[in-house]
Symmetry: C2
Subunit: 189 residues, 2 copies
């Protein structure tokens, strides 16, 4: 049985170095609050505010380290609250997505694009993927047995020797399926 631990991602933001500078000041380095399941990734001690046409969130967690693009990942529930209409996208694929205003302690950034609802996906270490015959980019179905059971379809496989086995869904998906971080899903095909 192909059991996958599930992690539920709350809204968060990735920032490029230039934006960290504009939001936190010259030479600022993100601090590590907590390591995440993927090697080298961490929840930073720092948060920013994001401001949409209809609403704002004052404390959006930054995930580090800095990336080559800035990207805000929110749930659809969050999107309605902010008043933006982001598409469901894989991380990094931000062309044509909405922008948002980001406010830090030392300045602001008007992001021109980069707001997405993250597509559900599974990180596989190369060895896990090989063992189970799973290819990078393959679409999978994952069943969860809870008080609100669902089968998630179109779950994107991402395979790398830099990854640890973990399925990532957002808070809407977690709540809709009665899941919490650490629960387990089963790949059904």
């Amino acid at each position: 049985m192909k059991q996958i631990p599930i992690g539920i991602s709350a809204r968060h933001i990735h920032l490029k170095p230039e934006h960290i500078t504009r939001l936190f000041g010259e030479g600022y380095e993100l601090t590590v609050l907590k390591d995440l399941s993927q090697p080298g990734q961490f929840a930073a001690g720092e948060t920013v505010a994001v401001v949409g046409p209809k609403g704002r969130f004052d404390k959006v967690r930054i995930l580090g380290p800095a990336r080559n693009i800035s990207q805000l990942e929110i749930s659809r529930t969050d999107a309605f609250a902010l008043g933006v209409n982001p598409p469901v996208r894989e991380s990094g694929n931000i062309e044509g997505t909405p922008g948002i205003k980001i406010v830090g302690p030392k300045g602001e950034v008007e992001l021109e694009e980069g707001v997405i609802v993250a597509a559900r996906h599974i990180h596989f270490h190369t060895e896990d993927a090989k063992k189970w015959g799973i290819e990078d980019k393959q679409r999978l179905r994952v069943r969860v047995e809870t008080d609100r059971p669902v089968i998630f379809e179109d779950v994107i496989a991402r395979v790398s020797d830099q990854f640890a086995l973990d399925m990532h869904i957002d808070t809407d998906e977690g709540n809709a399926a009665g899941l919490k971080t650490g629960d387990v899903g089963i790949i059904v095909d």
Copy 2:
């Protein structure tokens, strides 16, 4: 193909006559803002505030007509915001569920129980159910084809000649599956 129209229920409250009186005053009658898909049911013009240990919602829509129990139906996202931990339940089955404070223009009610996350369900008119061989209380699986496709399992069939064909899910489920009211699901078994 067994196609089912889907309705997404935002947080709402049902009230018993005694509570309408305490919240809105002696002899008060709910007004009809909009008829709902189920015959005789309506969104009332009136709203109340609900106040939990951690947060509050100021404008929770009342659905009419009055019922024999008062019941607040919220999403799990809402439950976290209020600071309550309701179970997933069928409407009307409120024994042992958390309570909540309800505030109206003329008074307050401390509900002792009645907060639920509604179990996903389909209303079938008796004729629809007969045609498709579906029994009251049967558990069904419903697939939706969207940019976030899922199969909802444990969807409860409710059959009555008072019902119109409609599947009811909450905002977490709708957002997790990329659905809006009026979209269609397919019963897969």
